[in-house]
Amino acid sequence: MARHIVIVGGGVGGTMLANQLVSKLYPEVLREQVRITLLSNSPDHYYKPAFMYVAFNQFFQEELKRPQRSLLRPEIDFQVQEVTRFDFTGQALHTRSGRCYGYDFLVIATGCVPAPERIEGLQQAGDHFYQYEAARQLARRLASIDKGRIFITVSFPQTPNVPHQCGIAPVETTLMLDDYLRQRGVRDKVEIIYTYPTTAQLLRNCLFLQRPTGEILPSIFEQKNIRFQRGFTLSKVDPEQRIAYSEEGDAQPFDILMATPPIRAVDAVLQSGASRAPNNEGWLPTNHETLQVYGLEGVYVIGDTVDLPISKAGGACHNQAPVIANNIAGEIRLGSTCAVYDGKVQAAAQMGLGAGMPLCYDYRHDVLPTPPTKLGSLLRNGFNRGLYWAVARGML
């Protein structure tokens, strides 16, 4: 009887892994000894990092999505099904439509969702760029502000040593904001204040979650007349007075509050009982080398749902997918896992509208920042517009 591999989630992690699994296990797929199913709650696949460009009117919705089916190899059984319950004991999944899928191997690739409602007043008064509609709302505000104060905050999960979504995004968008307001000719009348919380993973009182990058940010911000403040952990927002309060006792007024909000795992993962993370955040206890979920047989996790100290971003999925594909192939062919994830994440950071900085790090090495360049920005743009889709198809 065929071994059934089910991947839940049609984001970049689930998509590229499904394609790589077909490639890795092609002989078994041909002999019908392995079948691969991908379940997603959407018929479309979204290039999520483009949402931050939407906030600056640089991307249309039509340009950042493709039909999910068009990104998957034909050997994959793709179903638009929203998983509502994981039955790990019975090795089965239950969907909103009432269907039940059994599995031999399960990969949870359901990502994370912004949870601004977890900070009083943030949902009403704050803006973010981690979803399309939210980014459009922010775009409308940024396109119309002529004077005032844009206040930037970053909220980390309360689970120790777990980062917020896409570590470099708050820096990227702060620098893009500066360029955008200069293009609009209103920068001298709009104050930008970048803040960072007291606790950022293992660091305290810094401006970024890794020390080498955090140390160069003051000089970059000073050159651009961006104010910055350490030790501002957003605790409450007053939507009427438009004031952001911090756990440290500070109160700051704003016209636009551009916040990286709290995040959590999706409902089905929260309710699965598999997470040990505090604050009902839902991160799955992940073996940092094999990417298996601790305590569950045949279950792997990729991308934002892990409880690892590395970035919740596509650049992490890109290096996790081959490890999981090899480990599932190893379990099927050899009876044990055979690949190890070293925590590698790579990206091309958009350091302003016309400058980019390729970066790379892993469990043992921090990003060593280099001067942002025009070529770096062109690389990022080329990735946004073309290379990404080849990556999702598992070609790169």
């Binding site: 743009n381 073309g386 080849a390």
Partner: protein
């Protein structure tokens, strides 16, 4: 800087020293100009590239890779299925047409021919 200072500079800068040693054969053979010209051409290309140009080139890249990926997938899967089955009879070939996905593929090919005709 006086030319006599050069060895001192090189001693103090091993990186520059290593680079000059690498470049020496090019200087000796008179091909250093080609390298400089190539650098100049690269700089011109970077100047030519802007967001609009990158968008167009990236679009072309996606179209080309998606097409080759689709055709490669179809060829690989069809070859595997054909290899695993006995040679079909004429009736067997007609049976393939009963599969709605075969008919969709056939309609796609016919439409491609139609559009080629329209562009001719």
């Amino acid at each position: 800087m006086d030319a006599t200072d050069l060895p001192a500079v090189l001693n103090a800068n091993p990186g520059l020293d290593a680079l000059l040693r690498k470049l020496q054969p090019l200087l000796d053979s008179g091909r250093m100009d080609n390298v400089v010209d190539l650098l100049s051409l690269s700089a011109d290309l970077v100047d030519l590239l802007d967001a609009a140009m990158v968008e167009k080139l990236s679009g072309l890249f996606e179209e080309a890779t998606a097409l080759s990926w689709n055709l490669g997938n179809a060829m690989r899967m069809a070859s595997a299925q054909t290899r695993n089955e006995p040679t079909p009879s004429l009736y067997g070939l007609l049976l393939l047409l009963r599969d709605p996905q075969t008919r969709r593929g056939l309609a796609l090919v016919l439409r491609i021919l139609n559009v080629i005709g329209r562009q001719d």
